[in-house]
């Protein structure tokens, strides 16, 4: 049925193309709605599948009752007319009938609710997730942070990719033909592996937003100051699209959601690429800095990581933590200091996995030019730290 419809609309657009119609003839969105779609989107998770059949069930029961009740009503309307000479009966109550049509609908609605109960319970079970992603609604974009599981640490913003030249504005015609995924495309897609349980934690920065992917049967409000969660386990590889569904201000219609479900291997590759990308974006270790730039940056690193032990004065705590002010290591040959920072020594932890090359270079340069320190080798470049890591 579905395929037939797809096929029909495909043929239609093909025919339009063949007759030389412009290329903006609308086609189905991949993972989004189809043209003139009449029913729910094709389910891509077990939950969405259940919702789909629940809806079919409800629709059939409601239609049956509808036909029965209005069959009676229209029969009466056709037959019990004054113009046909029908004389009015006088009955106006019947306790047994009243009881029957109270009890029977009662039983019907309970029977309708029972299968739904199972789905409700399943939808709320967010335990044992393979991957946990925090999604933050903002006016008017989404932020994603991979909190747990493979890909932990990845974080990015996701904004509408459809250019304004396709949307237009009052009095300004769009200058570009609309794409197939008009308003359903973003710059950074959420990537998740297929057949893995993904828990989405939602929150928001400003007002309430709502995160949804119709094909997953998932919709969860993102509430500022609070966290809520939901989950999905996509069983088909592909791109799936949704849109913000809680009124959040003027650009409400322009903050879509795109989830790319990939194979486990592709997911691993994506995580690698994404992590490298993030690291690269963070700081380029090949960059050559001036002393002042590094000092400035180093002061922040020092304040965030070192000050608790070595103190703001650089004098440390006698007997517990070494003084940096006037220290032989700090004022001496820089290679030794780089080594201690990377690998640690006694109470000093190793920083190689927490601080980047640039941060280590910056904080060393800072200590070599602060307090009474006037080291001969007064600057360390990130590249030297990188070299020392090997």
């Amino acid at each position: 049925m579905r395929h037939a419809k797809r096929y029909k609309s495909f043929m239609l657009s093909a025919a339009l193309l063949a007759t030389g119609m412009p290329a903006w003839a609308v086609v189905d969105s991949q993972g989004g709605p189809a043209v003139r779609q009449l029913n729910l989107q094709t389910p891509a998770t077990q939950i969405a599948e259940q919702i789909y059949s629940l809806h079919n069930l409800m629709l059939v029961i409601c239609l049956a009752i509808f036909v029965a009740v209005f069959g009676v009503m229209f029969y009466s309307i056709l037959k019990h007319r004054k113009s046909l000479g029908h004389k009015a009966a006088t009955f106006h109550e019947s306790t047994s009938v009243e009881i029957a049509w109270t009890v029977v609908p009662f039983i019907i609605v309970i029977l309708m609710a029972l299968p739904a109960t199972k789905t409700v319970v399943a939808m709320k079970d967010t335990s044992n997730a393979d991957i946990t992603i925090k999604v933050t609604g903002m006016q008017w974009k989404w932020g994603y942070d991979y909190l747990k599981g493979e890909g932990e640490g990845i974080s990015f913003l996701s904004t509408l990719a459809t250019p304004r030249t396709q949307i237009g504005a009052p009095g300004v015609e769009p200058t570009e033909a609309r794409g197939d995924n008009y308003l359903l495309e973003v710059d950074n897609q959420v990537v998740v592996p297929v057949n893995k349980k993904v828990r989405m934690i939602t929150t928001a920065n400003d007002v309430i937003h709502s995160w949804t992917i119709p094909a997953f049967g998932v919709k969860q409000d993102a509430i500022p100051g609070f966290v809520r969660d939901t989950w999905f386990k996509a069983d088909k590889i592909g791109v799936y699209r949704g849109q913000c569904v809680e009124l959040c201000g003027k650009e409400h219609a322009f903050m879509p959601i795109v989830v790319n479900v990939v194979s486990e291997d592709d997911y691993k590759k994506w995580v690698d690429v994404k992590k490298k990308e993030m690291a690269a974006k963070a700081d380029d270790p090949a960059k050559v800095w001036t002393v002042d730039e590094l000092k400035q940056r180093g002061e922040k690193v020092y304040a965030a990581n070192c000050v608790a032990c070595h103190q703001a004065t650089g004098k440390g705590v006698p007997g517990a933590f070494a003084a940096l002010d006037g220290s032989a290591v700090v004022n001496g040959e820089k290679g030794a200091q780089i080594g201690i920072l990377l690998n640690g020594k006694n109470a000093m932890p190793a920083w190689k996995s927490t601080l980047s090359d640039t941060e280590i270079a910056a904080v060393i340069t800072y200590t070599r030019n602060s307090w009474s320190n006037k080291a001969a080798e007064n600057i360390v470049q990130p590249a030297e730290v990188l070299a020392a890591r090997k």
Binding site: M58, F91, T117, K124
Partner: protein, 531 residues
Amino acid sequence: MSTTTVDHAHDHSHDHAHDHPHGFRRWLFATNHKDIGSLYLWFAFTMLLTGGVLALGIRSELFQPGLQLMQPEFFNQLTTMHGLIMVFGAIMPAFVGFANWMIPLQIGASDMAFARMNNFSFWLMPPAALLLAGSFWVPGGATAAGWTLYAPLSTQMGPGMDMAIFAVHIMGASSIMGSINIITTILNMRAPGMTLMKMPMFCWTWLITAYLLIAVMPVLAGAITMTLTDRHFGTSFFNAAGGGDPVMYQHIFWFFGHPEVYIMILPAFGIVSQIVPAFARKPLFGYASMVYATASIAILSFIVWAHHMFTTGMPVTAQLFFMYATMLISVPTGVKVFNWVATMWKGSMTFETPMLFAVGFIFVFTMGGFTGLILAVTPIDIQLQDTYYVVAHFHYVLVAGSLFSLFAGYYYWGPKWTGFMYNETRGKIHFWGSLITFNITFFPMHFLGLAGMPRRYADYPAQFTDWNVVATVGAFGFGLMQVYFILAVVIPSIRGGQPAAAKPWEGAEGLEWTVPSPAPFHTFEEPPVFK
């Protein structure tokens, strides 16, 4: 005792000396329930057209994907004000207008219990309407937070939001006064012999509605007052950063909002329950069960509010409770539909315009009822929350429900008000035109919602275009039918036409048909004896 009689006589001469005040005084100082009823109805119709124009603005922008006519922020103002104006300005006052006109006539009372308060409750409405309409012209425009005014989006709005808050406060005060008046009138001023269980259904439904109003309007006032102090006085009721909770707003709002839905539909049930027996020439089937069903709906309406909030993420037990409670409401509602059908069964039916609108109401309202039942199922609701499916659902119950019953009531009682029969052919054109264009407008929205189109969107993916085109065309048709109604039906039947008999409908029953048409300025100065 004797002094009372003297006073009474004195009152009479006084009344007759000043019978029918003329000019603006008649309306500004109106204390007559019929005049106040007319004021309410004119006010409501004006607001209906205003809200309708806003709706056509929305539909025009949605005719095609892309932004053609307005910026999204203005679009959001239109959706918000369309909702506020239709709910608080059109539907609710229209039912109060019917209550003012018909309750005293139906129970054989000379007027409403508190005539001057009645005047005040009406004259609070125009300033509220001016505040709402005027807010379009203040910096930042009207509020664009949706008619539900969810925090914290409502905290971000400009002064238009404050104007909306004050407007809703004023209309709430007006509703509460109106309700006190209605309850007092019904409970104390019924004609001798009219026990509660002999009262016309319209009075019953309004009695229950009035209690609902008194129970929930203060809750709404509380919610928007908290919004107001959050906005201006540094409180943090709905601000998480200050220890508040945005979801609490939704709980409070919907504790008002769900009974509000029944406030807008119970009097409609009442009107239909008057009209169906009249044109089936057969008494209402199951009068007592109709009363109990109305009361059950009203009581249940207080324990289902969170079905508007399934996607906020509540515990599984809460989701299940609200799902089951909501589904239960369909039982008494179903009973009502069955009773109407049973009333028609083996009747001797004719189909003048009031009956057409009443049958149309039953047919189309039931479709809205079924989509409501489907939406009550939590997993389906989560899928469809905030999509056009919901928009379709509540327009089926509010337009095809409340509005159609108001039209039915107008055609049924209008001859009593104006003294002239409306033009039957034009009435039928209005009915069929409205029914068809209504369905063209709103039926495709079910498809849009199922396919996932979110509501309150100024622009949409191009796959949704065709159904939006259909809806827009239908909406303009529906709007034109209402212009036709006022110009071709209402105004001509006020100016003249075939004079209406005291009881223009063969099968109609009730005290309102014992007074001449048009109903004289003062009726039932001596209480009639009922049965």
